[in-house]
Point group: C2
Chain length 358, copies 2
């Protein structure tokens, strides 16, 4: 038992760290960009009526019922759709399928922190492109030769989105590599570029059911692209795990897509609570960009973000603070219900009062 | 649009091909080693009573309730348990965590056909060790220097299992590398080596809920090992996809574990139907090893396996035929209900009659 020579072949990596998942129901959880509203009523129906007998069989390996429903919803062919175990699985699959160059892939320096983790795991060289002082992505930074491009729209944790002009500019200057637009939050923003997949055969758009569709608990993500690119993603999936979506993940996602009215209503509520909360935070002296997501990214010129984070946490409100260069004076606050936002604002106000001496 | 230079960075792989999933309910499906019996009654209860509201939240990233239930069932600590999206996800995670040597990993030549696919995807060198003429694994073949070892017990598609002596011999000769014992079918066999993880700190044992627990539709797999090895698997998981198990996958798996009586009864039924069917096939002139799994691996000295496969398929019975060296005269038949086995035997008998001229 002494030598432990087997240790020399263990992998050497630094994993991604997700937001905390406290078990206490009394906690107001504004730290994981979850939707405060339940999924569409049809989701409950699907679960209640599911015959457990069917679970003895494997699910559709290609999640065919879900692909069909997504194709219908987005006016695409089934061959334009890929489904995975959350958009993390979809993005990891795309990174592996498309980023096999010696040249670095490009993504912003302030962005979803899983990108560099996948690059390390999959041994993909990468170069980050600094966002400007207002956290805006400069499209010219992405013109150079590269092994691929990943841009989230809207970006996280900055909450800033871009419009069609930016995306087309990015694509027009990147015709020789694969461009991934990560649209995890696009349903809350101004523009989704799914419409461009027929125009740009090197474009992959990824989305998720975890945010706008209130199904984080079921782990469903998707990608849209030309069939050739989707087939490469299928091949990677089929070389790793043939059945990433279970029967209930497929069926609940389909039920969600069948209720467009509920979807629009929920997204509308989140957007209006978001914009009202942004105004309240600004009135308290916070600086924050206009959010196109279901969260707010804010800083206060007079107080340390970490102190506010700790203070509201003690009051049972979990928000997100990243101790990272450039953003360590910022807080990321998920948009909850009006009541949750009242609690957050009240806690923040008492922090400001207690820490402001006349 | 002409150049398509982006094509040069696409991945080049040959994916695993799973058994067909026909949509027609009238088909007798004996081609994917699914369990013919439904999951434990508690599974239906969990689904029926699930509050869909909860689905707006992410699941436990570490599937904690399931880890606790597995630890209890197997008399282990929670630190000894890893959970994944089916045992394919668990095995792929283990391959990546543990097989990072320049030396080849060893596995049998006739075995689960996903192993070489993962090696190709993850760029792991490998060497296959031929099983003998009776498809038995020769343990001495695994004594040499290597980058790791994978042995399924029982093996698939051969259905042959080994006992404690073999596994200990294998482990005693492989103290400097990680040894994975893939126990997807162990609940139908004579021996599971989970008891050895405390004795061998380089042993990983993988299992699944898809076979003996009738939950193929929910995609749940697990691994057992010393906490150090489990932590490496967690790090790989957290570098790829933080939440591979959705809430209902976790909860249905827990419900299955809570009903030990039902589990034993179901496994017992499959085993007795299996052994009776083996006798019937032998009476028809088939040769087959004693199965320790939920399937039978058989050959007929007078008829082509492919012809039998096609014949029963036309009668609506799907079994598995592998057009591969060494096993292309064999059929793999999943053990179904007694009625399904009657249908299979009747179809096979009429094939034999029609093709035997007096």
């Amino acid at each position: 038992m002494e030598g432990k020579l087997w240790r020399k072949n263990l992998i050497d990596i630094e994993p991604y760290v997700a937001g905390e998942q406290p078990e206490d129901d009394k906690i107001i959880k504004l730290n994981a960009n979850e939707n405060p509203y339940p999924p569409a009523p049809g989701v409950q129906r699907v679960i209640r009526e599911k015959d457990a007998q069917e679970l003895k069989k494997y699910p559709s390996a290609d999640a065919v019922p879900l692909k069909k429903a997504l194709a219908k919803r987005y006016g695409l062919g089934i061959g334009n759709v890929f489904c995975g175990n959350g958009s993390d699985d979809v993005l990891a699959t795309a990174f592996r399928a498309f980023f096999n160059s010696d040249k670095p892939i490009f993504f912003p320096d302030i962005t979803y922190s899983f990108y560099p983790v996948w690059c390390e795991l999959l041994k993909i060289p990468f170069e980050t492109k600094p966002v400007d002082g207002d956290f805006k992505i400069n499209v010219c930074d992405f013109y150079g030769e590269n092994g691929g491009v990943v841009v989230p729209n809207p970006n996280a944790p900055t909450s800033i989105g871009v419009g069609k002009g930016f995306i087309k500019d990015l694509l027009d200057h990147n015709r020789d590599c694969i461009v991934i637009i990560d649209e995890a939050y696009a349903d809350f923003g101004r523009y989704s570029c799914v419409e461009l997949i027929n125009e740009y055969d090197n474009l992959i758009v990824t989305q998720t059911f975890s945010k706008s569709r209130s199904l984080a608990g079921m782990r469903v993500g998707m990608a849209f692209a030309q069939p050739e690119l989707i087939q490469y993603m299928q091949a990677v999936k089929d070389s790793y795990n043939s059945y990433p979506l279970d029967q209930l993940a497929i069926e609940t996602a389909v039920a969600s897509l069948e209720d467009e009215g509920y979807f629009k209503e929920t997204v509308g509520k989140v957007v209006s609570v978001r914009d009202r909360t942004a105004e309240r935070l600004r009135a308290m002296g916070f600086d924050l960009p206009d959010s196109e997501t279901n969260f707010l990214f804010c800083t206060h010129p007079k107080f340390r973000a970490e102190d506010i984070f700790s203070y509201v946490r003690e009051k049972g409100i979990f928000i997100r603070y990243f101790k990272k260069p450039r953003i360590d004076s910022y807080l990321r606050i998920t948009v909850g219900t009006p009541e949750q936002m009242d609690a957050l604002c009240a806690a923040t106000e008492s922090f400001l009062e207690e820490n402001t001496q006349a």
